[in-house]
Amino acid sequence: MEVVITKKDNETVARLIGRLDTPASAGVAKDLEPLIEAASGVVVLDCSEMAYISSSGLRIFLTVRKAAAEKGGKVIVRHISNEIRSVFMMTGFLNLFEIQ
């Protein structure tokens, strides 16, 4: 799993490339620490290239979301595939994130 973070204005975009499974989640959690720091602004999780997510990945998403909620920021999940959308649905995450 590869994470590419870019900053533009108030917006921090993290591109998640590959499978966010349990083995990958530890690394991703570390990679996304900058997003937690930037949670007061707008955080974008670009899932256009994310093929798979397991509960460990969802937990990282939730961690970011919780940080944003504390700091008054905003989390946007962008370009999720139908498959991941269904996982979000199953877990009630659709209600927690702004999906674009």
Binding site: T22, P23, Y52, S55, R59, S86, M90, T91, G92
Partner: protein, 736 residues
């Protein structure tokens, strides 16, 4: 009480037997007596006939001798008649005729030719008499005044009868006091006138000897009486010619019989008659002597006749008594042995009956109802016990307490009743001790101590005791000298056991406990050496190799035991069962094995270590599974997600930190379903028991955990956890 009852029945028996014996003796005695009587009667008849024959033949012989003399005398006299006729004209020559008769005939003692008075003109009376005296011939005339021969019987009778006449016997006074008789015949001259009487005297001395010596029986005697009833010969010589039978008869008590007897005798008849005389019965045989008018008789006392047969009769009677006594004795012995035999039989029957009861009791001591735990799906058990005799020394037992299967098998040294008693004690002790002990070692140790304590007959028991934890499949066991059970896993091998000493050998023995983890579907086969040591006619033993051989193949425990029994019977053939044969088959099926597995089309398996990185391999694994089912991406990813969540749970939480463990993942692909079985040997953990995640909670309320199992539950159609043995098994199914 029981003893007196027994004696009473015995008494009855003896009385019954004695009665029967008495009856037999009486019947035998009656038969013998009847036979003896019939025989006696016929013998008596025969003996009487024989006596009569003997008497008659004796009399016949005697009479013949008498007749010889009589005939001789008569012939001598008759032959001289013509000479006498010729000499009549010359009376002086008549003495020559008499002389010639005496000289020519030794039996004739004297002779005379007596002229009828007046016949001779010269002699009024004329009778020249010639007789023998001391070998010399003496001549004398009988024509004396005092004799008056013409009036003598010997002279008058022949003339009167005109025939030869035998005179009454008489004692010759002049001639030496001998018994004599005279035969006289009339002599006629040429004109036919009776001119003289020619006589011949004969002595009857020989008659006394002849008749007196007739001895048919020792005490029998003979008699001869004359025509007039004079006694001629009789044992009492004083009576000879002194008495007549008539006089004697008048002195008898039974005059009538004697009178008839003498009348018959004197009438010239022959025959026999029984008479009582002097308190005795005698048989009188009588027969006449022709011409002389004499009657001869032989008197035989009846007891003399029958003395032989009576002696025999007495002997027969004695023998009969002896025989009957022996018969009675034999019957008594027979009756006694019969009673004893019956008693023995009864005792035998009683023993057999008691053994049957004992057998029943013994069999009721071991569990006999199979399947023993029909409500349980994790155990399939069967056992069989076949004693070589009515009762045996083998035992097995099992029961479940606190989800633990306690089981044992044992073999008491020896066979029969003593062994069965020890068996009963052993079984009871197993139940008593195991009721509060979970450890096979402690069970065996306590049993050993108790049994050594009371083991005076020094019988010991080889014993194997096991405790199988049905939830963990953990088996603890302790062996006490028993042969190792067979362990049936993928292969068949002996369960590794410490030998240890049998129970009851020595107190304070230390027993070593062993343990092993069973897997689902493993089985243990316990048996006594009656199986391996079953011998055929060739003294060949069934042996362990055959046991291993017949244990192959997947069968229910009952089928296994039936099969083994059949194989042993086939092997042994007609040879008698030498030892008790006991078998116990425990098939551990694992928990919830009742669920019938639907056959899968394909199966995939992967075994991972408890490292997070290993989870990545699931992607490829799922792709292979998806290929079988041609699943779309969404379905594949969902399955991947569910499986990953399940596996992650194990990898992260099942094994203590720092230890390695495995996760076994089995994917079974069916026609329209896929099943994942995730198995680990970690600590018991039921993920399905975790609280459900609240998917509706707000961001701040939302908890970090609980998502995994939530996803598994949401994606899969059924999720089931079970702890089987030391394993956690999570089964998840997705239907399409």
């Amino acid at each position: 009480m029981k003893h007196s009852l027994k004696t009473l029945t015995d008494l009855k028996q003896i009385r019954k037997s004695a009665g029967l014996g008495l009856l037999i003796v009486i019947v035998a005695a009656a038969t013998l007596e009847a036979t003896a009587l019939v025989q006696y009667y016929f013998s008596q008849k025969g003996i009487r006939e024989e006596a009569s024959m003997r008497a008659e033949s004796q009399m016949e012989a005697t009479r013949n001798q008498i007749m010889d003399v009589v005939n001789q005398t008569e012939a001598a006299v008759r032959n001289s008649i013509w000479i006498a006729q010729w000499a009549l004209s010359v009376p002086d020559s008549l003495h020559r005729v008499a002389q010639r008769i005496v000289e020519d005939n030794p039996v004739v003692m004297g002779s005379t030719v007596a002229l009828v008075p007046g016949y001779s003109p010269r002699h009024k009376l004329f009778s020249p008499y010639v007789f023998k005296k001391e070998g010399e011939l003496v001549f004398r005339s009988l024509a004396t005044e005092d004799y008056d021969y013409p009036s003598q019987e010997w002279f008058t009778k022949p003339i009167e009868l005109d025939a030869g006449y035998w005179s009454e016997p008489y004692i010759d006074v002049g001639g030496g006091e001998v018994l004599m008789t005279t035969y006289s015949v009339p002599v006629k001259d040429r004109s036919g006138r009776t001119a003289a009487v020619l006589t011949a005297d004969i002595s009857l001395d020989w008659l006394t000897d002849l008749v007196g010596n007739v001895k048919v029986y020792p005490t029998a005697y003979s008699m001869m009486i004359s025509r007039d009833g004079h006694i001629m010969v009789c044992p009492d010589s004083s009576l000879v010619m002194q008495a007549t039978v008539g006089e004697l008869v008048s002195q008898m008590e039974d005059t009538a019989t004697f009178g008839e007897l003498t009348r018959t005798m004197l009438s010239g008849a022959s025959g026999s008659m029984a008479v009582d005389y002097g308190g005795k019965t005698s048989i009188v045989y009588f027969s006449p002597v022709e011409r002389t008018g004499w009657s001869m008789s032989i008197v035989i006392p009846e007891e003399e006749i029958y003395s032989g047969i009576r002696r025999i009769g007495r002997m027969v009677f004695l023998l009969q008594i002896l025989g009957l006594a022996m018969l009675a004795l034999i019957l008594w012995f027979l009756a006694r042995s019969q009673i004893r035999y019956r008693e023995l039989n009864e005792r035998k029957d009683r023993v057999v009956r008691e053994l049957q009861i004992a057998s029943g009791i013994q069999m009721s001591m071991v569990p006999k109802i199979f399947p023993p735990f029909p409500e349980r799906s994790d155990l399939d058990m069967s056992a069989t016990i076949v004693p070589a005799k009515e009762v045996g020394g083998d035992l097995y037992d099992f029961y479940i307490r606190d989800e633990k299967l306690f089981f044992c098998i044992g073999d008491v040294s020896g066979k029969g009743v003593p062994a069965s008693l020890v068996m009963a004690v052993t079984r009871t002790m197993f139940r008593t001790v195991s009721a509060h002990e979970d450890s096979p070692r402690r069970i065996v140790t306590q049993m050993n101590d108790s049994m050594s304590d009371m083991n005076e007959s020094s019988m010991f028991v080889t014993f194997f005791c096991g405790v199988l934890d049905l939830t963990t499949a953990h088996l603890c066991y302790c062996n006490a000298g028993h042969n190792p059970p067979m362990l049936l896993t993928d292969e068949i091998r002996k369960l590794p056991v410490e030998a240890n000493l049998p129970l009851g050998v020595m107190q304070g023995m230390v027993f070593i406990e062993q343990e092993i983890d069973l897997n689902r579907d493993d089985a243990i086969f316990l048996y006594t050496d009656g199986l391996t040591e079953a011998e055929n006619a060739e003294k060949e033993q069934f042996g362990e190799e055959r046991v291993v051989e017949v244990l192959h193949g997947r069968k229910s425990s009952e089928e296994h035991l039936k099969n083994i029994s059949r194989q042993v019977r086939l092997f042994v053939g007609d040879a008698p069962q030498s030892d008790d044969l006991t078998m116990l088959f425990i098939h551990y099926l694992g928990a919830d094995s009742s669920a019938i597995q639907v056959p899968a089309v394909s199966e995939h398996r992967i075994v991972l270590h408890n490292e997070v990185s290993q989870i990545s391999q699931l992607e490829g694994f799922i792709e292979a599974v998806a290929k079988d089912r041609e699943l779309d991406l969404s379905q594949t990813l969902n399955l991947n997600l569910a499986l990953e969540e399940a596996v992650t749970n194990v990898v992260l939480y099942a094994y203590p930190q720092g230890t390695t463990g495995e996760v076994d993942v089995l994917a079974r692909v069916g026609v329209d379903w896929i099943e994942f079985v995730v198995t680990d040997s970690g600590k018991p953990f039921d993920p399905t028991a975790a609280p459900a995640a609240d998917t509706t909670a707000s961001v701040s309320d939302r908890r970090i955990g609980g998502l995994g199992i939530h996803l598994v539950r949401t994606i899969m159609d059924s999720v089931h956890y079970e702890r089987r043995g030391n394993k956690n098994i999570l089964t998840m199914t997705k239907n399409f």
